[in-house]
């Protein structure tokens, strides 16, 4: 479990740092794919709530600290989101296209709703304005473009390095 947490937290953190630096070269209207969010979805959906919460909390914290955010806001949203998504672990298995796209779309909507509710509770007006900007759709679509290859790589890493092999 610990290697999985380290690997995926590392991936997510790396993505978040690259998003504000190197990935800016591929930004469309200032928006880059939200790879970190795919990491949280994959971990919560594949390994369950416990690991999802830990990864979500850490990535949320890095997210808030790497930009002009409210420290703790996204760790709160991502922890809760990962907990809820983790409940579905083992009930549906990832395939190549349909399930990842469906899970991502529903996750994006859930995150949108949770962010909206918490932004309203904490009076984070800037977040509320951002939520209702057309750019959010751009972020959704741009991330969707990379969804299948990223999940494929994650599954490959999982199967090759992180799943315990049983020898008979």
């Amino acid at each position: 479990m610990i290697p999985r947490l380290l690997v995926f937290t590392g991936f997510g953190t790396l993505f978040l740092i690259l998003e504000t630096t190197v990935l800016q070269y591929i930004a469309i209207d200032g928006i880059v794919p939200a790879f970190y969010f795919l990491v949280i979805i994959f971990v919560a959906f594949s390994y369950g709530s416990f690991e999802g919460i830990i990864v979500g909390f850490i990535l949320g914290l890095v997210f808030d600290l790497s930009r002009l955010g409210l420290p703790g806001f996204h760790s709160l949203v991502f922890s809760l989101f990962a907990y809820l998504l983790g409940i579905f672990r083992g009930k549906i298995q990832f395939d190549l296209f349909i399930i990842p796209i469906t899970v991502y779309t529903l996750s994006f909507l859930s995150k949108f709703l949770m962010t909206m509710i918490f932004a309203w509770i904490f009076g984070a007006e800037t977040i509320l304005i951002g939520l209702f900007s057309p750019l959010i759709l751009l972020e959704f679509a741009y991330t969707l473009l990379f969804l299948v290859p990223i999940f494929f790589v994650f599954q490959l890493i999982n199967k090759t390095f992180l799943v315990k092999r049983v020898y008979t």
Binding site: I53, R67, G72
Partner: protein, 284 residues
């Protein structure tokens, strides 16, 4: 039984994560002595600096190779121009002396210039919620929260935004296109005041509001918008942009304008943080 324990463990972890998050929100919102925020920002920006540096290194290497052949041609041209410049050098000496005398006559003093600290952008925020720029200057360099940030592009100076968070070696700047940043501005020619804010994206025009209805017909498309210096730390007279559309609704008691920023945020690399006011302003 094991499933029940697992469920309990998940719930406890969630509660711990939520409590920690709320604690962070509370700490950061209540006091500026939020050292966890500063420490965290320092750590994250350290890695941003490394990533930015690596990206720049590889980008610059590729560009250098491409430019090598161009440089050879330029070198030959420059050699010719060097000889020409030698002839004009004597003229330059005379002109410098003339310039010195003119400056003196106009009582121009370099001390009247705004004191500023040059800084490099090491990270640009990606995402839709918080437009921000991370600069490589922090409290160690004398940067404080609220300091205005300007940039020079194509020979023109323009307002970029305001320092909102400061760590030891970096700071976060809220740009003028942020919907949460309001700037007191003035129309350069017609001299009407207003309040300017962004729409959350650098590609969208800025919105200038609360301009007196009297301005109708007196403000022209293309008129410059500058900082007014009223009720804020922004020195007066910093250019921001130009008017590109005028909106007037019969039920409004003020005018609204769309403003194109003078600075293109997409190709911004270096900025200047204004650390002090001019002597002129202090005298005022």
């Amino acid at each position: 039984m094991a499933k029940m324990t697992e469920g309990r463990r998940d719930l406890v972890t969630l509660i711990v994560a939520l409590v920690l998050s709320l604690l962070l929100l509370w700490v950061s919102g209540k006091t500026r002595l939020a050292s966890p925020l500063d420490a965290g920002m320092t750590v994250v920006s350290f890695f941003q600096g490394i990533a930015s540096g690596l990206g720049n290194f590889f980008g610059n290497t590729i560009q250098s190779i491409q430019k090598l052949s161009e440089l050879q041609k330029e070198y030959d041209l420059l050699l010719e121009r060097f000889q020409e410049l030698e002839y004009t050098q004597s003229d330059l000496t005379l002109l410098s002396e003339e310039n010195r005398q003119l400056r003196s006559a106009l009582a121009f003093s370099s001390s009247l210039q705004v004191v500023n600290a040059p800084a490099q952008i090491i990270a640009k925020n990606a995402g839709v919620y918080f437009g921000s720029l991370t600069l490589n200057k922090g409290s160690f360099h004398g940067i404080e929260r609220g300091m205005p940030v300007v940039a020079v592009q194509d020979g023109k100076q323009g307002l970029i935004g305001k320092v909102q968070e400061v760590s030891h070696t970096t700071c976060l700047v809220e740009p003028i296109f942020s919907p949460g940043l309001f700037v007191g501005v003035r129309l350069a020619d017609s001299r009407f005041d207003g309040l300017l804010h962004g729409q959350g994206s650098s590609s969208e025009p800025l919105i200038l509001q609360y301009v007196d209805m009297e301005a109708q017909g007196k403000v022209q498309i293309g008129e410059s918008v500058i900082t007014s210096g009223l009720y804020s730390r922004y020195p007066a007279g910093i250019p921001i942009g130009t008017i590109n559309a005028i909106q007037s609704r019969s039920y409004d008691n003020s005018l609204e304008f769309e403003v194109d920023p003078i600075i293109s945020f997409a190709r911004l690399e270096y900025v200047f943080i204004i650390t002090e006011k001019t002597i002129e302003e202090l005298l005022e």
